[in-house]
Point group: C2
């Protein structure tokens, strides 16, 4: 199947462990359970789309190490096209250790690895005719900007998962149509805890819509000609919130592909993220389309997005 | 080379990451560097002996996973005979994530894995004629007791690295000639922070010598007909103390093989541990024999063990 969505960005190997309590400095903790699973913002968003039935492809880099092999295998198992997932010679893959405690608190220790995607002469073929959306996370800024510029030329919609505002991030923003950023990104951008002001500022870069994801507080979205939309998070007994943001992005991109109104897209994305949290691991409980539909139809009307003002 | 020492116990894959600061609950930390390396108390003690020039063998279990393959490769690379390192079907290997901060503080998140060594009909051949010492850590209690009983029958000296006092640990103690335990083990045993009292109690199980290792405070040893010996830790700029205890045990076993007086053995073991701390990883900086000798000859007389009373 030719990909409808291509993601360019991070793919990681996640090593997740459950502890009773997050250990104090200098203490040991024995893990009650351990799970090794692929992760990473763009990669897990693509897995979400794949489980929802969308053909997807991953562009990025892994190292020539055991972790890289496991990352690739995990993506292929999820039907993610890895033609553009390169293996960098003599380099290490991105890896994360995630500690999840009995109360669902989460700590992430991550290493970006030394593998870096360089597409150069392969870039022009990246966005094949079938591709409608390019999904980015912006850690590897140069290839992200190059791909986003190409997307503009080929009228491919661009989505950015902004997790951390890094030096140079602003150079990518003018090429983004749909900007979905973390609370942290919004705070770094505006210099204070004011998601609405951050969105107003970010809209200045030209995106059609900007959303700030706020964990258990849901998400806040604004766009051209739209009233602000506050989408609450669905209340589920969260076992592990690792990857909830990534899965939200996958659901968001799914809504874009369906040309849904933003409210519907946000509600759908929130449902995907909530269902993901049912099990340990960023990918374990990513739902299929029937699961999301069944979950949404079971929800009270009160869970529909709140239109402010 | 036929092994002089066989170790039965834990072998692990350590994933070590350096952070600026150990993260608060719910925070992320990006690792400045990452190292994947074999670890585990008995396995790293054996690697120490091997670097010191002693032929050694590892008895234990790994899972049939990627980590298990890496654990075995790491041991073979260090010339550790893995004939008795079994691979348990459909099981997971022991793995640890170790966070090391800029001040050398260390946190360990570890999973014992589901692989469990079962020697059954292979047990009688475990202690071949060449074997003089059996080194144990006691996590897998049943095979440890079986092997220690066999060692008694074959007049093979037994050494136990006691890290944590676990239910049933006492059943193993009567079969141990040299007991080297952590401060934590001593505290658990005696119910308070009193290493000397713990040693007195532990000597009751019949060991020739009992030592409590106390990190930067050195080690305290007592034995039949010996005055207590306090061996200070050598002051080195420690980058990472992961595995220092395991390497101390390796040095201790080396001294036993040489029939050195306990004072000399403890000083040698302390030097091995100090040199190990020079680099990230439980094994990276384990010294060779010339390195230990050169280090010891460079040390002041003040670093010789203190004989109390």
């Amino acid at each position: 199947m030719k990909p409808l969505v291509i993601g360019l960005g991070q793919c990681s190997l996640d090593i997740l462990g459950q502890v009773d309590n997050y250990p104090e400095l200098d203490e040991k903790a024995e893990l009650n359970s351990l799970l090794v699973q692929g992760g990473g913002p763009v990669a897990t968003a693509l897995v979400t789309l794949s489980r929802l039935g969308v053909p997807v492809a991953m562009a990025g880099a892994v190292g020539d190490d055991d972790f890289g092999r496991q990352i690739r295998e995990g993506l292929i198992q999820e039907n993610v096209d890895c033609t553009y997932l390169m293996q960098s010679a003599q380099s290490s893959s991105q890896v994360a250790f995630v500690s999840v405690d009995a109360q669902g608190h989460r700590n992430i220790f991550w290493h970006r690895g030394t593998a870096h995607p360089v597409f150069s002469e392969r870039l022009p073929g990246l966005l094949s005719d079938s591709v409608r959306i390019l999904h980015l996370d912006g850690l590897h800024l140069d290839p992200a900007i190059a791909a986003a510029k190409l997307a503009r030329r080929q009228a491919v919609t661009t989505v950015l998962d902004g997790g951390t505002l890094r030096p140079g991030s602003e150079e990518l923003l003018p090429f983004i149509d749909h900007l979905v950023v973390s609370e942290k990104f919004a705070r770094q951008f505006i210099g204070r805890d004011d998601p609405e002001a951050a969105i107003q500022g970010l809209l200045g870069y030209g995106a059609v819509e900007v959303t700030v994801t706020m964990g258990r507080s849901g998400s806040l979205s604004m766009g051209k000609g739209l009233s602000p939309i506050l989408q609450p998070a669905f209340a589920v007994g969260a076992i592990d919130t690792t990857g909830c943001g990534d899965v939200f992005h996958g659901g968001y991109v799914y809504g874009l592909l369906q040309n849904w109104p933003l409210e519907r897209t946000l509600r759908f994305a929130a449902a995907c993220a909530a269902l993901k949290a049912r099990a340990l691991g960023g990918r374990t409980a990513i739902p299929t389309l029937p699961e999301v539909e069944s979950f949404l139809s079971s929800q009270d009307e009160q869970q529909t997005p709140e239109v402010i003002g």
